[in-house]
């Protein structure tokens, strides 16, 4: 019972010469809701994308349910890790992701978007996939938009379809990368509500966000990224209300400047 659902062990990532982070360790237990905050360019997206291998970490392991992803192998004296496509595809079914820019498939209806993974990846029959897809759309309040194409949906509706698309795969963890940053302020609420509902269901999630207030209410733990790693972490009260280290304090102060 003590194996974490997800463990990051000594994760390094660099782009060319530039190290984004190094030696990141993180344990995520079932039901954890982790908010990742930090300045622009601190590596929040990159860290999230290393979890489902949209970026490949340069060192360290991603361990899901006690099983390390990828196989170690010796090459030219050094130990490398080989990630075969099949195992990454299986990992990605268990780790859902919601993007800042929604990334809906524009040539498919809302329902088509949600069904796609069920039909193509899970090889589900189309009727079953449609039934399940409709249920997922209903969960985010969009059952009546099933036949609408993304171009005819508002930003908030698009993002909720994207959430339904991720949920349809029944992932064990959900990753959100600034899910409301591309939205009109008036549409942020409906997406946060949808995420809040998932939180109330006890789902495990990791959320990169600039919505500090939302992070405070939703997260069980907050990570602040800076200086190439997790600079400070703790409960929302610890990190957001009483940060102990200077960069965190400056970041939080900056966000509170205009609160009222």
């Amino acid at each position: 019972m003590d194996t974490p659902l997800l463990r990051l062990a000594g994760l390094d990532k660099r782009f060319g010469e530039r190290a984004v982070f190094s030696g990141v360790d993180l344990d995520v237990k079932r039901g954890d809701r982790i908010a990742i905050i930090g300045a622009s360019g601190s590596g929040k997206s990159t860290l999230l994308r290393c979890i489902n291998f949209l970026e490949h970490p340069d060192a360290g392991r991603v361990i899901l349910n006690g099983e390390p992803v990828g196989a170690e192998r010796q090459r030219a004296g050094a130990t490398g890790i080989r990630y075969d496509e099949g195992s990454l595809n299986r990992l990605r079914q268990r780790v859902g992701m919601v993007f800042q820019q929604f990334n809906l498939f524009p040539h498919m209806t809302a329902l088509g978007n949600v069904m796609e993974g069920l039909v193509t990846v899970k090889r589900m029959a189309r009727d079953d996939a449609a039934r399940l897809g409709l249920a997922e759309l209903a969960r985010v309040g969009l059952a009546d938009k099933a036949e609408a194409y993304p171009a005819h949906l508002s930003g908030g509706q698009k993002q909720r379809v994207a959430i339904a698309r991720a949920l349809a795969m029944e992932p064990e963890i959900l990753l959100f990368d600034e899910p409301t940053s591309a939205l009109d302020p008036a549409l942020v609420g409906e997406v946060l509500d949808a995420i809040q509902t998932l939180a109330a269901e006890g789902r495990t999630m990791i959320l990169v966000t600039h919505e500090i207030g939302f992070a405070y209410h939703m997260a069980t733990r907050v990570l602040f990224l800076a200086e190439g790693g997790i600079y400070e972490q703790g409960t929302p009260d610890e990190v957001l209300k009483a940060p102990r280290r200077p960069l965190t304090q400056a970041f939080i102060a900056g966000h509170r400047r205009f609160s009222f």
Binding site: L54, F99, P106, T120
Partner: protein, 221 residues
Amino acid sequence: MTYRWDFTPLLDNWQALAMGAVGTLRLFAVCLVLGLGFGLVVALARRSRWRAARWFSIGFIEFFRNTPVLVQILWFYFALPMLVPVEITPFTAAILGISLNSAAYSAEIYRAGIQSIEPGQWEAARAIGMSGLQTLRRIVLPQALRRVLPALTNRGIEIFKMTTLASVVAYIELLHQGRLIASLNFNPLEVYSVIGALFFLFLYPLVRATYALERRLARSD
């Protein structure tokens, strides 16, 4: 001087013209399928993870884009049989020349279309566990093909018109038959006017059909 138009020799030879039309359409259909089909293969080879495939693709495109189709048809008809013991009919030579050239051009069209798809589309598909091939087939190609449909239509029109080049190896198509009729009846004005009109009559409805297809595909906008 007033010229007296006389279409009777053409009407008398309608069977020859019909044979030519069948030859043109047959060559067009084969070259359209092979040219646009093989072009997609070449475009995908260009993105392959195997270097040999990428090199093949680049070499193929550059070679066939930068040599005249007419020379290629003549080469396949007269020169190739001297190198390898194969029998090349005019039909085969024309298919090879026109299809390979069209494949080279359409490969570049497909490549531009695939490249124009935002990386976020690949990422969203991969993030739900789709393989690279599934992503290509279900997500990227349908969108890319839609975007390049006008350019592919132009390619199709070019292919149709290039079929006339096959007359150089005495393949029986419209122009070949027209030249025959004109030389026997000394009526080039009527013959070449009618041949030109026939090409228009065949092509225009096809082009209209692709417009209709474009509109149908645009229903998701």
